[in-house]
Amino acid sequence: APARPQPATGAGAPRARIGLVFDVGGKDDRSFNDVAWRGLVRARDQLGVAITTIEPSDGADREAALRQLAAQHLDLVIGVGFIFSADLERLAREFPDVAFAGIDYAPTGPDQPPPNLAGLRFREHEGSFIVGAIAGLSTRTRTVGFVGGMKIPLIRKFEAGYVAGVKHVCPDCKVFSAYAGTEPKAFADPALGQELALAQYEGGADIVFHASGKTGAGVIAAARAKGKRVIGVDSDQFHEAPCCVLTSMVKQVDVAVFDAVADVVAGRFRGGIRELGLADDGVGFVANADNAHLLSADVVTRARALAADVIAGRIEVPSQ
């Protein structure tokens, strides 16, 4: 993208310079990266910071992109995606004067991350558990599906929570599950997502939950074409298909990004790992006027109760 440093609204020098590197799928994937971008834009508009973003094209490029931003000694460099974890640790050690934040950060060793690295994690399995329960309660065919992007532990978390949620409310419901592939491209292959979802719908599933980034655009397109229901991920994907998006497992990446920037601006940035779950509103599901016609009030009530149980520790949600 012409990710030119965008001047802060209002006059004068920016209050901080922020860099962000996107994950595979890129800006406008209408999912994960999109939420991060929204958080950054809000920070730019409300906090008056200058932003620079890079959409890396492939493997070897990613670390170089982060490094490029770090070498400019920006105030904060954000890596969107677990894939940046190891690179962020190393760069944080190399550039102690730069603050780093990693979304979906997963520590690569037993050591504490360096003090200038904030790792932001989400308990996706908790949110997935709730939308799984919603699916289990809403299915008419007693069959639901899951489409993952790349088969990696992070996405397994979504799947595990989702399956547990379905089974919790409907023990004999069937759950199909499929992954788009073995390369990062699996997060950016809507044609493939569409085929995987169609295979599930045609196999009898009437609700499919996707955790596949841009690939999900194909999953949603399949739902639209089939007139079946779909569960979005990361951001509220209702507007991708108002006919069909039952709910979305939202992940407040935008909040996390905005907060990290706000901390830097306010001079209270601190490193360490923060994990956001249902309890922190870091993950959740969407129930509002938009999707009220798809999501019955009973189901919402039941889902809220389950969320309370999870928060209270009465339900242990598996993450793998």
């Binding site: 993208a1 199909f176 295979a199 399949a222």
Partner: protein, 292 residues
């Protein structure tokens, strides 16, 4: 397991096979024409990618599917024109030219999206052709093109010249036919066909994503080679690839067989095993890769 088997004998499955196979089929038809004329078509990947890109960008800008498909053909022709200029006119190495075009198309699509829409990985969404197979004009175009290429290659004047020029260009020249003109025609027509194949990668999913071709051009080239440079058979091979993919999706869905990382590899393993146990029987066009 029964669910898996049952899922294979549905119309939906058939439709899926077709949907997946169309880009391969069209790329392979285009590749066959070009290679039959003696020009190695390693640029299929670029033609698919540019076709997908042009279809999405023009579809979005004009709101017309027809314009999108025409644009895809034009984009394929544009790539083919560079390829022909380099291969036929300048006598450049055809493998090198193809690889370079693939690299360039990859960069150009992302660059253009960045400049025009401020995002390198995705084109803006618009209403494409949907997932229907019978309602998708590309399906019908593809069916017509398979017939046209087969008939064209074996039963028309140009087809005869294309087949001749890939074998003995000197003999064609001695018969008073311009070798360059026949090659240009074959490469450009092939480019248009492969470009339309690209449209199938973006129109059904309502937009273009970077690297939408995802190696399909190379797989299509494999089909061309395995078919012995026969368009009908190449199309069948492509259907087989589509079939393998679709079966694989359903294996995953129904939890049959191997882990997802491995089921995805079935088409590749299949192709390699076939190549290993079934050594090459058909010789390539003799002048393939020779500048003149």
């Amino acid at each position: 397991m029964t669910g898996f088997v049952a899922s294979l004998i549905t119309l939906g499955f058939l439709a899926q096979v077709l949907r997946i196979a169309i880009p391969y089929v069209l790329a392979a038809l285009g590749g066959t024409l070009s290679e039959r004329a003696g020009v190695i078509d390693l640029a299929l990947e670029a033609k698919l990618l540019m076709g997908a890109f042009a279809a999405a960008v023009l579809g979005y800008e004009t709101g017309s599917i027809a314009v999108g498909i025409a644009g895809a053909a034009a984009a394929g022709v544009a790539v083919a024109a560079i390829q022909a200029l380099w291969s036929v006119r300048l006598g450049a190495d055809q493998v090198v030219t193809g690889i370079a075009l693939n690299l360039g198309a990859f960069g150009f699509t992302r660059y253009f999206l960045g400049v025009r829409y401020g995002q390198g990985a995705n084109s803006p969404r618009f209403d494409g052709v949907g997932t229907g197979v019978l309602t998708n004009p590309i399906t019908w175009i593809a069916a017509a093109l398979v017939a046209l290429v087969v008939v064209g290659l074996w039963q028309t004047r140009l087809g005869l010249r294309v087949r001749a020029v890939g074998e003995r260009p000197d003999a064609v020249a001695a018969a008073g036919v311009s070798v360059a003109r026949v090659r240009w025609a074959a490469v450009l027509i092939g480019g248009a066909i492969a470009g339309v194949g690209g449209a199938q990668l973006s129109l059904p999913v309502d937009g273009f994503v970077a690297e939408a071709s995802g190696g399909r051009g190379y797989v299509a080239l494999a089909a061309v080679i395995m078919s012995g440079w026969r368009p009908g058979r190449a199309a069948l091979w492509c259907l087989a690839f589509g079939l393998a993919d679709a079966v694989q999706y359903r294996m995953q869905t129904h939890g049959v067989g191997l882990p997802a990382e491995l089921t995805r590899l079935l088409p590749y393993v299949l192709a390699l095993v076939l190549l290993a146990v079934w050594p090459r029987r058909v010789a390539p066009p003799r002048a393939l890769g020779q500048p003149d």
